[in-house]
Symmetry: C2
Subunit: 551 residues, 2 copies
């Protein structure tokens, strides 16, 4: 997905402010609109500020630096035009989206570089070290935690990975693919699929996020229960760092000291730029089945999912909504009218009338194994009172699996506050963490005029615990940024106090950095600083990410 260094056009505001552009706008159904209004009231739309050339700060790089950068990557790869700089100025959190809609240009870089080789990246970093110029590596730009939201630093640059996006090689015997970091999921899956393979890493941001971004943020996808987190898939990485080339990882396993590759995964551009990644791929599943079920309650559903995980019987996708998310999902995209009445009667008769929706997506290498594993799983599910609702809801979910960000555009258009946060803990702590997080989100946003809607689901299941993914919707309007930032702080502290990690798969970025110290402790923060000093002694790499920058 190459971003062309275009001049500003009538389309620019759309490009800067929206995830989805035609042909994929998502309209809110009347049912969804009615449900939202009944729960949180009407949205309070805020006028959108069109982007214009005179809003974008002037270019400020010293001439000598510009000349050196041009010598390093070629003139065509140094983008100075306002639109290219604007498009690489921040990520895509709710707060970012509001800033985009307000045409905030305070984070625009001086230049966007598009190197075409690892050596070019090394050379760019060498120049930036010499001139103390900050560097933000930029893949798909989909960070929701401020990972690519530049500090207000007018002479910093962005390294775009759009032209480092090739498939380097595919080892079909070992099942290993080497790719450059700027490749997106759809491109990789198309290339792999043609050879009978899949990576199976499908985050909601899949259409735009880059493989390098997955690696840099320890991403997890919707099918990670079956295919593993990105950190389970990566076997080696190469980085261009300010002190030179760093290659880490050894296939398939080694006891040669600490696993240093685990420092590159989750490094979020703070140690260097990931320029190549080797990942384990799998043969395409030939037997698939997506289905829905209803557990009597979230608690019963948690018990059932835990049992599946501990007996090795989980489907590739397994997703358990809490009661609030189940109500919202059924109201907004479930059966309607008479069908809904029949559906409700069916559930009530089976004791799951106020239950929790469970989506399971089975992907196996043979129909026989799928049947054996699914039969064994259903024997477990029935013990916990889980009731099948068939394949329909499973395939509805599957077809809408990437619609979230489009829907967010629509909700923002309608003036709603909409944001997510996520965490994880052990099974024994999970019900408490769910309750603490839900209450923290409600308490942080409730006031006489606004009642937020807070819902969540378990999105990734492990033998020892699971993740929780929350969505918060409220009426928005002016002041939403301040309101959400305060709420996010309260929620983050509550997550930590209740034993949850500050992030299960969204990473730290700038937004979570104030809580990282509490999670990894003073010795852990000392280690992060020591590692950063070793690899990035002048501190040019994505400053403020992971490690807070002193004011």
């Amino acid at each position: 997905m190459t971003v062309n260094p275009l001049a500003l056009t009538p389309d620019s505001t759309d490009r800067f402010t929206r995830w989805g552009r035609s042909p994929k706008p998502v309209a809110l159904s009347q049912l969804a609109q009615a449900f939202l209004e009944s729960q949180v009231g009407a949205g309070v739309p805020v006028a959108l500020t069109p982007v214009a050339k005179d809003l974008v700060p002037e270019f400020r790089l010293p001439a000598a630096v510009l000349a050196a950068l041009i010598a390093a990557v070629g003139e065509s790869q140094v983008l100075l035009d306002p639109m290219a700089r604007l498009l690489h100025s921040r990520g895509m959190s709710y707060v970012d989206m509001l800033h985009r809609r307000g045409a905030d240009t305070s984070t625009v870089p001086a230049a966007v570089l598009q190197p075409t080789s690892h050596d070019q990246v090394l050379e760019v970093l060498r120049i930036c070290v010499a001139h103390r110029i900050s560097v933000v590596p930029y893949g798909g730009g989909t960070s929701v935690v401020g990972g690519v939201t530049r500090p207000a630093d007018p002479i910093g640059i962005v390294i775009s990975l759009d032209e480092l996006s090739a498939l380097v090689s595919l080892d079909e015997v070992s099942g290993l693919v080497r790719v450059q970091p700027g490749m997106t999921g759809p491109v990789l899956e198309r290339l792999l699929g043609a050879r009978g393979f899949t990576l199976g890493h499908l985050p909601q941001s899949w259409e735009r996020a880059s493989i390098g971004g997955y690696a840099a943020t320890r991403s997890a996808g919707q099918a990670s229960t079956g295919y593993g987190r990105i950190d389970d898939m990566i076997e080696s990485v190469t980085l261009a760092t300010p002190i030179g080339t760093w290659s880490a990882g050894r296939v398939p396993a080694s006891a040669a000291g600490p696993n240093l590759m685990q420092l590159a995964l989750g490094s979020e551009g703070a140690f260097g730029v990931i320029t190549e990644i080797t990942l384990r791929v799998r043969r395409l599943a030939i037997a698939r089945r997506y289905e829905g079920a209803i557990a009597p309650s979230l608690a019963a559903g948690i018990d059932a999912c835990r049992e599946l995980a501990q007996l090795g019987l989980t489907s590739a996708v397994i997703r358990l909504s809490d009661e609030a998310e189940t109500v919202a999902t059924l109201a907004m995209s479930g059966p309607v009218g008479v069908k809904r009445k029949i559906f409700d009667r069916y559930l009530a008769a089976r004791g799951v009338g106020q239950g929790a929706l469970l989506i399971m997506g089975w992907e196996e290498h043979s129909a026989a194994i799928l049947t054996a594993r699914r039969d064994a799983a259903w024997a477990v599910l029935k013990k916990f009172g889980v009731v099948s609702i068939g394949k329909g809801v499973g395939s509805t979910w599957e077809h809408g699996r990437y619609s979230g960000p489009y829907l967010r555009d629509t909700l923002l258009d309608s003036g709603y506050l909409v944001e997510t946060f996520e965490t994880a803990t052990s099974w024994v702590e999970l019900p408490k963490l769910h309750e603490v997080a839900r209450r923290a989100a409600l308490a942080a946003l409730v006031d006489p005029e606004h009642t937020p809607y807070v819902m969540s689901h378990i999105s990734h299941v492990y033998e020892t615990g699971a993740s929780l993914y929350f969505t918060v919707i409220d009426s928005g309007g002016a002041g939403s940024i301040k309101r959400w930032v305060a709420a996010k702080a309260a929620i983050s502290s509550a997550l930590h106090s209740a034993g949850g990690t500050i992030t299960h798969h969204h990473a730290i970025g700038r937004d979570h950095a104030p809580w990282l110290g509490a999670e990894v402790g003073p010795v852990g923060m000392g280690l992060l600083r020591a590692i950063k000093s070793e690899l990035d002694p002048t501190g040019i790499m994505n400053p403020g990410v992971l490690i807070q920058v002193a004011d």
Copy 2:
């Protein structure tokens, strides 16, 4: 297995020089003896030097240090007697065993401390930092890579973990056990088994190795294909370091920056002392089946194992011997006489007369799943010409799974050189690595009077590759240490050149340290040094392990 601070007794030589003491000596069968003599000639026994009090160097710690250490842990926990110090002076590689048999006491520490709490370990380290006294953490003492073989430093101490060996807690809901580092596998399995759980980590050193040692060395066990490596099982660790307490890890998964726990795993005592470990446990398998098979060749067996791994059909234990190991195994413990003739005729008729032995140990949570997975696996195996030889050989292997170190004692008694080395690589590189390693071992030891026997097996199978474990047997005699050290160096360089890791599960210790730089590169070594400087600024922790000490 508490080591009592005993005075020297008639039993001392045995304790110092042997893995196995009564009631578990292993005699070499006549068949085995005959096979060995036909392959490598008779062993050349070297006289064993009895250990005696006057061999052990005098205690040399300054009085002020001793007083501080006694104040820290109590007088009963500071062992100064010759036998306790001798028993904590080195590990159990072949070279260590020869030094033990020669009553080499050059690595004896000044004192052995047995702290009983994390805080006591912290305090001991504080004292050692203040007085620049080197510290070697010592669990089961089973390292075969010089990981606990002290440098010749007369005022260094050893921290024994024998009295930090409790089970702290078991969370049966999440399937998480917290243990202290000195606990051994048998004790843990007994405690877990009584509650219906297992760790499933079963290295050959299981009877004596400690859980802390597993963590410190990134150990893998015989059932790691099914239960995972120790680094897959550990969810958090706490260390006492020279700069204070370091806790790392977060259950069950997190994207909160780099995974710093992966620096503690494989740290081999160079960064601090692991004082607590939280591990994922599993419910005991209720369906088990161990069986044997013969593949037409190692190459065909590799293809079959790869197919199983990539289709998710591996057994918990999967072990494929090359042709040389198959010949030796069948000669030394297979059918004899007429039975052997019938066996050979059976194999020959099925085209696997010169084949490769495959051991599979299935451990599943239900008989139905075992049947489904095993049936699917056998459908694959048959495609590659693999022939079943039934349950007998599988259960023979299972019953002898910890006999290796006992057998080594016996071979050393008979004057044989016997040692192992191991590596791993991707599937596509595996056949070449096997051949390169085998030739390197043969070339390094062959001379007009000695022909070594070199055999190997794949011991751990991954989706993208596998490990190789080699055993070398030769006639020994005087000069064996020098001869093996030279051979080991040649083999290690060959492994690295052929793309293998220097170690798949034995760790780095002092013996592999010269090759670590080649494996992790200069930036990787710089990171290890930076991490060591951060956690152990005065360099007291297990000097020479991981990072070579300049002479």
